[in-house]
């Protein structure tokens, strides 16, 4: 009897232990129906800040950039901690997943696919995309047309058209907005320029880098002074790849443009001569050129690179000492850019609309962004006024006293005003050759060619590796 009791007890304990994980979930399901209904109601109500909209705004991003723009420039945003904030009585939740290993997109994909069934407060409201893979999201119904939010063509008339081309789907519907433009220029180390050319004047330096032939000759001169022309061959990749005449994929076949092959040829020569390296972008070794001891002459990049990514906040860096200069470089190009997209099914449409309008169309806020963050914003009249000096800026110290009033200049660029150069770059941007495979192709191509540059493989072997890697990522493609 006692034994039986004991065994019964044991079995019960075991059963409870085995099934323990199975319960306790129904509450999350019940929220869906009511939340969904509320979301629809608000959409019907239109653009007004409706009281019955969701109380949580979920924003999916991969770094701190957009968060700091919202924190600094969106009226009424209060930061609570690193991943939350409030706007009025709405809680803003930042879901920050780094880009590494495609983690951001994987996370976003999974959440978007479940968007329809998610509870209202868990639905994605805003997510950010980059040019390289914008089409992957824009060309689906998971991204909401801007018009459906109540944003009109008149609202966004001052934006640069290219920023809208990138997030327009195959039916011509605009599905995202950006606050920045990303025309790229060549940032050169003023110290290196003085040492090698005897001048650091942007126009004079431009003569030494005006086209690729001159650029490659200049590399030799810099090498004699102990400088690498670029930190890595991958620095110039985008300059070549943005000036292609055909996209990466044509009719389901992988296509390598002639200008890309020219990059391979030029880069191989530079590496073989020891004028530059094969470091991957963002590697610690690649970043050494942000500091004087890194002995790097130039980096190619848009405004955000010099402002946001080149250690300008770190004591002793070239940027911190105002040691960079900007020149147009051999060819115009753009790099990256961040677009704000509204997720279909958002329960905060009017707030999403307002964030988009404030950050991407409000000239005052956008001018502020230029002054405070050295960013190039997506507002044609504002940028042109700042470029030609007709719009002046004021800088104040912490007591509110005006310390500077006059034309725009950049501290990091040693007082230079790079805006005319950027404005000129935006005009040239050619975006008809984008495809939704760009990200995978660009990454795999640089990876594969690294082996060729380092002499570990022949050109054909490296190409073969590229084709192999791309078809692994996108099995529907052939070569």
């Amino acid at each position: 009897m006692k034994k039986k009791l004991l065994s019964a007890l044991l079995v019960t304990a075991m059963a409870v232990g085995t099934l323990a994980g199975c319960g306790g979930n129904p509450s999350s399901g019940s929220g869906t129906a009511s939340g969904g209904a509320a979301g629809q109601q608000t959409q019907a109500a239109g653009g007004e800040q409706a009281a019955d909209e969701g109380k949580v705004l979920n924003i999916y991003v991969w770094n701190e950039e957009f968060k700091s723009r919202v924190t600094d420039h969106y009226p009424g945003y209060e930061a609570v901690d690193a991943t939350t904030g409030t706007i009025g009585d709405v809680t803003v939740k930042w879901n920050i997943t780094p880009n590494d290993d495609n983690a951001y997109q994987n996370n976003l994909d999974e959440t978007l696919l479940k968007q329809a069934d998610a509870a209202a407060d868990d639905k994605i409201d805003i997510f950010l995309v980059e040019a390289d893979y914008a089409l992957k999201y824009v060309d689906t119904e998971y991204t909401m047309p801007i018009k459906d939010l109540g944003i009109t063509d008149a609202d966004i008339a001052d934006q640069y058209p290219y920023t809208q081309d990138i997030v327009t789907d195959s039916n011509g519907v605009l599905k995202g907005l950006s606050w920045q433009g990303c025309p790229g220029v060549l940032f050169y180390n003023r110290e290196a320029a003085k040492e090698t050319f005897g001048t650091d004047d942007p126009d004079a330096v431009q003569e030494y880098v005006k086209d690729w032939a001159t650029f490659n000759e200049t590399a030799a001169a810099l090498h004699e002074k102990g400088y690498n022309i670029m930190s890595s061959v991958n620095d110039s990749f985008r300059v070549y790849s943005n000036n292609v005449t055909s996209p990466w994929v044509v009719d389901g076949k992988i296509n390598i443009d002639d200008n890309i092959m020219k990059w391979v040829e030029d880069s191989k020569a530079l590496v073989d001569a020891g004028y530059t390296t094969t470091y991957e972008l963002w590697d610690a070794d690649w970043q050494k050129g942000f500091f004087p001891d890194g002995k790097v002459f130039c980096y190619f990049g848009p405004a955000w690179l010099v402002n946001f990514s080149m250690a300008a906040d770190t004591e002793g860096s070239i940027g911190n000492q105002g040691g960079w200069g900007a020149a147009k470089g051999p060819q115009g190009f753009f790099w990256g850019g961040t677009w704000i997209c509204a997720a279909t099914g958002t329960d905060n449409p009017s707030l999403v609309k307002d964030i988009m309008l404030q950050l991407t169309t409000n000239p005052e806020i956008m001018t502020d962004i230029v002054v405070k963050d050295d960013d190039f914003v997506n507002n044609k009249p504002a940028m042109e006024a700042l470029a030609d000096g007709s719009q002046t800026i004021t800088k104040t110290d912490e007591n509110g006293n005006v310390t500077y009033e006059g034309p725009y200049y950049s501290d990091i660029l040693g007082g230079q005003n790079p805006l005319p150069m950027y404005c000129e770059g935006v005009a040239d941007l050619q975006l008809s050759n984008l495809s939704s495979y760009d990200q995978g192709c660009n990454e795999e191509f640089q990876d594969a060619m690294k082996a060729y540059f380092e002499g570990k493989a022949t050109l054909d072997e490296a190409k073969e590796l590229f084709y192999k890697a791309v078809t692994e990522k996108y099995p529907e493609l052939s070569y």
């Binding site: 232990g17 495609n102 050494k288 939704s436 990876d447 082996a451 072997e461 590796l465 990522k473």
Partner: protein
């Protein structure tokens, strides 16, 4: 009377079955169902292009044909085995040596507990963190290169991670460092299980310690050695985190350090369950065959 007796026997059996339920449930949910679904998936075209799901469409053996159409898979298998062997050979030698020293009563080593703990410690570090550490240490401008250049051993930094054997050696070294402590402890357990009277008899007969090791310890350690060999082989075939993190998933240079599981991971970028499933089944068969060979080879001579 008879019926009651049988009833009692049956009821005890029933308890036995009931107590097996947790294991069977866990096995079914976490092992068997995934195994079957992997095999099932391997016959379908099933991947995602952007946010669009393609398939699942039945393609028969199409995935296997695609996988075996080129020699890639054999190259990755070879890479995996090379890196495993480069780590396993020193690992087993060092472990045997340490095990023999630690268990030898006549040596009376001081601080045994301390050293046993220390050699096991690398295994406690996450493999990815360990790989990250090595990546930083051995990068072109990293501390190892600075030391070597400053000591005058090298003229210019050696690019470990751009060199086939450099990368492979680093992977092997990491696996060695991580696992030799574990193997030592396993082998010590085996050695301590050997009847001490055999050692004493050998000592009385005047055998040298080398003779004792090769004539007594090694033959009697065979079952444990086989176990260590097979578990290490299976672990080695599944090698992933160390080379993945060290080479940033590329298996550089020219995929010479790409292992089978890293290749599998490439197919998971677009949730390609078809090809991934086929590759997993292939790996399952290879592992089974190799384990069988090791087992037969080492238990044959009796």
């Amino acid at each position: 009377m008879k019926a009651a007796k049988r009833g009692k026997v049956v009821s005890y059996n029933r308890w036995g079955y009931i107590f097996l339920i947790p294991f069977v449930l866990v096995y079914l949910v976490f092992q068997f169902i995934p195994l079957v679904s992997t095999v099932y998936n391997s016959f379908y075209e099933n991947y995602r292009s952007g946010l669009t799901q393609i398939g699942p469409n039945f393609v028969g053996l199409g995935n296997y044909r695609a996988l075996l159409a080129n020699s890639d898979i054999w190259i990755y298998l070879r890479n995996t085995l090379i890196m495993w062997a480069m780590g396993f050979v020193p690992q087993i030698i060092v472990s045997l040596l340490l095990g023999a020293w630690f268990t030898n009563p006549s040596l009376r080593l001081k601080g045994q507990q301390f050293f046993k703990t220390v050699i096991y410690l690398p295994n406690l570090i996450m493999a990815s963190a360990f790989a990250m550490l090595f990546f930083t240490l051995f990068s072109d401008g990293g501390p190892i290169n600075s030391i070597l250049v400053q000591l005058g051993i090298l003229d210019a930094p050696f690019r470990f991670l751009s060199n086939t054997w450099g990368t492979r050696s680093l992977v092997a070294m990491m696996n060695f460092l991580m696992w030799f402590g574990n193997t030592t402890i396993l082998l010590m357990a085996g050695m301590m299980g050997i009847d001490t009277s055999l050692f004493e008899a050998a000592e009385v007969d005047g055998a040298t310690s080398t003779q004792v090791f090769f004539r007594i310890t090694l033959p009697l350690l065979r079952p444990i050695l086989i176990y260590v060999m097979i578990t290490s082989l299976i672990g080695g075939l599944q090698m992933f985190d160390v080379p993945q993190v060290l080479t940033n998933g590329t298996g550089e240079p020219m995929r010479s350090s790409m292992t089978l599981i890293m290749y599998l991971n490439k197919h998971l970028f677009n949730k390609n369950y078809g090809l991934g499933g086929a590759l997993s089944v292939f790996l399952f068969i290879i592992t089974g065959v190799l384990s069988l060979i090791v087992f037969r080879f080492s238990s044959e001579k009796k």
